[in-house]
C-alpha cells in the first residue's frame, strides 16, 4: 500500500463538540497517528471556510484521504464528500467520525468524551488507507409518480404533480377519494364548509388528464429502488363497470338490501348493498358491497339492480384485478384512524346511547349527515346540555401518550356549532390543557369563551347513566374534577362527545413494511429527519405526507403534501439519479458456485451463471445490505465501502487507543 496522506479535521460545532471534547487535544493526538499528514480543528467545519480547509489541503498538501470528526454522517456526510469532490478527491475517500451525536452530546465527563472521540476518530483513521475510490451508480428515472391515499393530502400532492405535467397514479382504498375531510362539516377556525373547499379539489383530481385514478384499489407489493419502482396494485372488483356506470344511483334505489351500516356516516345511517358512498364521490360510480349483496353472498335475489341500471353496467362476474405500475417516486398519504374510545370503558362508549365519537358528531352536525344537520339525540330530541370530553385516549399512558394536536380545536368548533344550532343548550368542555397553537386558533378560543360555553379544567372521570337526583334521572352524568375550583362535579347532560385522538391506521406497520420504511414508537410513519426531512423516508424516492406521519390539521397537511410533491418532482424531473455505490460484487476468479448466497439475497440481486459456474451480482438490483458478504464461507462477495478489511481496520483503530 502506498503511503497515504490523511487530512484530519476536527469540528468544534460551536460549543456542541468543543464544549465537552478537548478538540485541541484530539487534533494534537490525531497529528501523531500513522498516515496523518495534516490535522486541524475549526469552529464550524460545515461552513464554507471549513469546507475550504479540506479543498486547500488537497491542493497544497496533497492529502489523499480525509476524515472529518464532527456530527453524524446522516447530517453532513454529503456536504463533506462534495467538498472533497470539489477539491479533486474521490468523495468516497472521505469518512466522517461522529463525535457529536455519539460522543459530546451523550457523555457527562469531558475527559471521557475526549478519550471516546479519539477512539471514534481512530477507527476512521485506521480504515481510511483501505478506502477505495468509488463512483456513484447512475440509474435512469421513471418520470411517473404514485400517490397512495386519496384524502386531502393525497389529492393535493397528486394535483401539484399533475400541474407540473407528471403522470400520477392516485390509489385509494375506498370507492371514493375524499378521506376524512369529506366527512367534516365545518373546518376550524374559519368555519369554512369542508365540502365547499374539498369538493372542487376532488373533482379537479377526477378530471385531471394526468391523474389516473385507481379508486377501490390497494397496493400489494413494491419492488425496485429510487427512480425505478414497480408497484403491484390490486383493483378490487366493484361489480360495476366503471366506464359504463353513470353514477345515476338507480341501482341503489332498486337494491333490496337496505340495512347496511353506512361507513361514511360512521354507521349512524343505513345504505344499500349497491351504493355510492356520498353524493360528491369521485369517481361518482356505484359499488356493490360483496359482503352484503344477496347475489354475491350466494343467496337468492331477483336482482332488481340489473333491470334498474340503464347502461347495463352491473357485472356480477367481475374479479379483482392485479396491475403493475412503474413509477419513479411514491408519495404515501394513507392518513389516520380515529382512536376508538371503546377500551376507555369509564366513558361508556358503545354502551350508553348519546355517547358519541367526534366523527359521529361531525356527521350529525353535517347537513348531508343522518340527521340532515340537526343536532339531535337518539330519541330525536335536541339535547339541552352537551359535554365535550377532551383527550380521550390521548396524553394517556394506557393508550396514546402523545397529543393529537387537532382535538382541542375541533372540540371548540363543536361547541360553536352546538351553540349556533341550539343557543339554549349548555355546552361543557372538559379539558386538561387548551392547546390552540395555530393561526387564528387562540382567537377562536377567545371567541368561544364569549359564547357561553363552560370550560372545566379537568379530565372527565366517568360517564354514567345512574342519576342520583331528579335533574340527573334519565340523562347522562359526567363526573369531573374541576381542578380550578378544586371540587368534583356531576354534569347532567343529554349528549357526550368524546374528542378522541388520531391514531395510526391499524395496518400502518404492514403498509410501512410494504413500502420499506419504519414506524415511530407511536405507530406513525417515520420520517427521515424530524426537522429537516419531514416528508422523506429512509427509502430514497418514497415520501410521506399528512396524518400518516403524525396528527396534524388541514393547513399543515396541505403544506406537507406540497412538500412531498416537490420532493418527488425534484427526483422525477431528472432523467437519471445517482445511487450509492456501496453494493456487493463477486470476483468470478474466486467464486466456486456453491449457491449459498443466491437464495439469501433479500432483493434477488444474485443470480447463478450456469455457463461460468459462478454467482453474479445484478448491480441495479443490489441494495447493499451485505447479507451475502456475511454469509459466504468463502469470503467471495465483498461490499464496496464496507469491505471486511475496512471493518477490521475500524475495529483495530477503535481498540488501539
Amino acid at each position: 500500500m502506498a503511503q497515504e496522506k490523511i487530512g484530519v479535521y476536527v469540528c468544534h460545532c460551536g460549543t456542541n463538540i468543543a464544549g465537552k471534547v478537548d478538540v485541541e487535544e484530539v487534533t494534537r493526538w490525531a497529528a501523531e497517528q500513522p498516515n496523518v499528514a495534516v490535522a486541524r480543528n475549526y469552529k464550524y467545519m460545515c461552513s464554507d471556510p471549513g469546507q475550504d480547509l479540506i479543498k486547500q489541503d488537497i491542493k497544497e498538501h496533497g492529502i489523499t484521504r480525509a476524515v472529518v470528526a464532527a456530527c453524524s454522517p446522516t447530517m453532513h456526510e454529503p456536504t463533506f464528500r462534495k467538498a472533497a469532490a470539489d477539491g479533486g478527491l474521490n468523495p468516497y475517500l472521505l469518512q466522517m467520525a461522529n463525535i457529536r451525536e455519539h460522543c459530546s452530546w451523550v457523555t457527562v465527563d469531558g475527559e471521557a468524551a475526549t478519550a471516546k472521540a479519539k477512539r471514534i476518530l481512530g477507527a476512521q483513521i485506521h480504515r481510511l488507507p483501505l478506502n477505495e475510490p468509488l463512483d456513484p451508480i447512475e440509474v435512469p428515472v421513471n418520470p411517473n409518480v404514485m400517490v397512495v391515499g386519496g384524502g386531502i393530502a393525497g389529492i393535493e400532492a397528486a394535483l401539484k404533480l399533475a400541474q407540473a405535467g407528471k403522470k400520477v397514479y392516485l390509489v385509494e382504498r375506498d370507492p371514493s377519494i375524499g378521506g376524512h375531510m369529506a366527512m367534516f362539516d365545518k373546518t376550524f377556525p374559519t368555519l369554512d364548509c369542508a365540502a365547499c373547499i374539498l369538493t372542487p379539489k376532488m373533482s379537479a383530481a377526477g378530471k385531471e388528464p394526468h391523474i389516473e385514478m385507481l379508486a377501490y384499489s390497494e397496493v400489494t407489493e413494491v419492488e425496485g429502488y429510487v427512480g425505478n419502482f414497480k408497484v403491484k396494485v390490486r383493483k378490487k372488483a366493484r361489480y360495476v363497470d366503471i366506464d359504463t356506470c353513470t353514477g345515476c344511483g338507480l341501482c341503489t334505489e332498486a337494491c333490496v338490501v337496505r340495512k347496511v351500516p353506512n361507513e361514511f356516516d360512521r354507521g349512524l345511517s343505513k345504505r344499500a348493498a349497491a351504493y355510492i358512498p356520498f353524493p360528491q364521490a369521485v369517481p361518482l360510480r356505484a359499488t356493490i358491497d360483496p359482503t352484503r349483496c344477496l347475489t354475491l353472498t350466494g343467496k337468492k335475489c331477483k336482482q332488481p339492480c340489473l333491470t334498474a341500471c340503464g347502461p347495463g353496467a352491473i357485472d356480477f362476474d367481475q374479479k379483482d384485478e392485479e396491475i403493475e405500475v412503474e413509477v419513479g417516486a411514491i408519495i404515501v398519504a394513507t392518513g389516520f384512524e380515529l382512536w376508538d374510545p371503546t377500551p376507555e370503558k369509564r366513558y361508556s362508549y358503545g354502551k350508553l346511547d348519546n355517547v358519541l365519537s367526534s366523527l359521529e358528531f361531525e356527521r350529525i352536525s353535517n347537513a348531508s349527515g343522518p340527521t340532515g344537520g340537526h343536532i339531535l339525540c337518539k330519541n330525536g330530541e335536541p339535547p339541552k346540555a352537551v359535554a365535550i370530553l377532551h383527550c380521550v385516549g390521548s396524553r394517556d399512558e394506557n393508550y396514546q401518550e402523545f397529543c393529537s394536536r387537532v382535538c382541542c380545536m375541533y372540540s371548540l368548533k363543536f361547541a360553536h356549532l352546538i351553540k349556533e344550532h341550539l343557543p339554549e343548550c349548555e355546552v361543557y368542555e372538559c379539558y386538561i390543557d387548551m392547546r390552540t397553537y395555530g393561526k387564528g386558533y387562540e382567537e377562536f378560543y377567545k371567541r368561544l369563551m364569549n359564547e357561553d360555553v363552560h370550560f372545566i379544567r379537568g379530565r372527565a372521570a366517568e360517564v354514567t347513566d345512574v342519576g342520583l337526583s331528579p335533574t340527573e334521572e334519565g340523562r347522562l352524568v359526567v363526573k369531573v374534577e374541576d381542578t380550578l375550583l378544586g371540587i368534583t362535579r356531576r354534569l347532567p347532560v343529554d349528549m357526550v362527545i368524546l374528542s378522541s385522538g388520531l391514531a395510526p391506521r391499524s395496518d400502518a406497520k404492514e403498509t410501512a413494511q410494504t413500502f420499506g420504511f419504519g414506524c415511530s414508537a407511536n405507530g406513525f410513519y417515520l420520517e427521515r429527519h424530524p426537522k429537516l426531512e419531514p416528508v422523506s423516508t429512509v427509502t430514497d424516492g418514497i415520501f410521506i405526507a399528512g396524518c400518516c406521519q403524525y396528527p396534524k390539521d388541514i393547513p399543515d397537511t396541505v403544506a406537507q403534501a406540497g412538500a412531498a410533491a416537490a420532493g418527488a418532482l425534484a427526483l422525477v424531473d431528472n432523467p437519471t439519479v445517482n445511487v450509492e455505490p456501496t453494493i456487493s460484487y463477486i470476483d468470478p476468479e474466486k467464486c466456486s458456485g456453491c449457491h449459498i448466497c443466491v437464495g439469501l439475497c433479500p432483493h434477488a440481486a444474485i443470480q447463478y451463471n450456469e455457463e461460468k459456474g459462478v454467482a453474479e451480482v445484478i448491480t441495479a438490483a443490489c441494495k447493499g445490505c451485505g447479507v451475502c458478504v456475511a454469509a459466504c464461507a468463502s469470503g467471495v462477495p465483498q461490499q464496496r465501502g464496507y469491505l471486511d478489511e475496512q471493518i477490521f481496520a475500524e475495529i483495530e483503530g477503535a481498540l488501539a487507543v
Partner: protein
C-alpha cells in the same frame, strides 16, 4: 385439588359468613383448603398507606409460611388480602430494594421467602381451576330468574388484574351465568368504591358512595347484590339504613357473599352457608330460587 388457604382477619369477625360459605362451597366442589399455619394480618390498607415497607414485610411473612408449608398455590378470599399479598410478590420481583429489605426483615424472625408463591383469588380458582363447566354440572338448584348484581369492588382486579380485565372484570358475571342466574352484566357500579375504611372516618362521603351503588342496583331491578370482599359486603349491607336516612331512600336489598349464593345453587343447606348471619334478610332470594 388442594390449596393453602389464607382466611384473613375479617373471616373471624364481620366476614365470618364469607369464610364459612367458602369452606362449604369448596368442600362441595371437592377442593381441599388447608388453612395456613400461624397466619397474621395481610398488611392491608392502613399499613400500606403509612409504612409501605413494613406492610410488605408483614405480608411476606404469610407468604414465607406458605412457601414452607406446601407447594400448593395460596388461595385468598378477601379482595384486600389478595391485592396486598399479590402486590408484595410483584414489588419483590420488580424492586431489588424491596426484595432486600423484606428478606432482611424475614431473616430477623428466622424466615425466608423468595417472592414466588402464587397468590390466587378464590374466584380465580373457581373459574380457572375448577372450571365453569364442572361447577355448572353440579348445580342442584339453578338460579333461574334471580337478578344478580355482581359487585366486584376496587381491589378485585385493580391494580394487578392477573385473572381478569382491570377496568372491566367479567369473571363474576360468567360465574353466575353458569349457575343459571339472570346476571346484570351491565351493572355500572360494579367497580365503584364502596367507601371502604372511610365509613369510620368520613361517613358522609362513604354513605354517598354506597348510595350510588345501591341506587344503581335498584334501578336495574337487582334481587341481590353479590360481593367478593368482607368490607364491601359490610358497607353495602350494614349501612343501608344510614343511606336511607341520608338520602330519604328505602333500600332493603339483600347483599350476599358470592360464595353464599353459589352454595345455595349447589344445594348446600342455607345454615351451612351462614345465610342467617346476613343483616338484610335473604328470605326473598331463598324463596325465589326454584326448587
Amino acid at each position: 385439588m388442594r390449596y393453602l388457604y389464607y382466611p384473613g382477619c375479617s373471616a373471624e369477625s364481620t366476614g365470618m359468613a364469607y369464610d364459612i360459605s367458602t369452606r362449604a362451597l369448596m368442600e362441595k366442589l371437592g377442593v381441599e383448603l388447608v388453612e395456613l399455619d400461624d397466619w397474621n394480618c395481610c398488611g392491608a390498607t392502613s399499613y400500606f398507606s403509612v409504612r409501605e415497607l413494613d406492610s410488605f414485610a408483614i405480608a411476606a411473612r404469610n407468604l414465607a409460611i406458605a412457601q414452607q408449608q406446601g407447594d400448593e398455590d395460596l388461595c385468598v378470599i378477601c379482595n384486600a388480602c389478595y391485592t396486598t399479598l399479590a402486590k408484595t410478590n410483584r414489588y419483590m420481583a420488580d424492586s431489588p430494594h424491596v426484595r432486600e429489605q423484606v428478606q432482611g426483615a424475614l431473616k430477623a424472625v428466622g424466615r425466608r421467602y423468595d417472592g414466588t408463591k402464587p397468590v390466587r383469588h378464590i374466584m380465580d380458582v373457581l373459574v380457572n381451576d375448577v372450571g365453569l363447566e364442572a361447577i355448572s354440572e353440579k348445580v342442584a338448584r339453578r338460579l333461574t330468574g334471580i337478578k344478580v348484581a355482581p359487585y366486584y369492588g376496587c381491589q378485585y382486579s385493580r391494580p394487578i388484574g392477573s385473572f381478569d380485565d382491570t377496568e372491566d372484570p367479567q369473571t363474576m358475571d360468567r360465574f353466575f351465568e353458569a349457575l343459571g342466574a339472570d346476571v346484570l352484566t351491565d351493572f355500572p357500579a360494579k367497580l365503584k368504591c364502596c367507601g371502604g375504611m372511610m365509613m369510620l372516618t368520613n361517613a358522609t362521603g362513604a354513605v354517598r358512595l354506597c348510595h350510588e351503588i345501591l341506587k344503581s342496583a335498584e334501578d336495574l331491578g337487582a334481587d341481590v347484590i353479590v360481593a367478593a370482599c368482607p368490607l364491601c359486603e359490610m358497607n353495602l349491607e350494614g349501612y343501608q339504613p344510614n343511606v336511607n336516612k341520608a338520602y330519604g331512600t328505602h333500600f332493603h336489598i339483600p347483599v350476599m357473599y358470592f360464595t353464599q349464593l353459589a352454595g345455595l345453587a349447589l344445594g348446600i343447606d342455607p345454615k351451612q352457608l351462614a345465610i342467617d348471619k346476613q343483616v338484610v334478610s335473604c328470605a326473598p332470594v331463598l324463596a325465589a330460587i326454584p326448587a
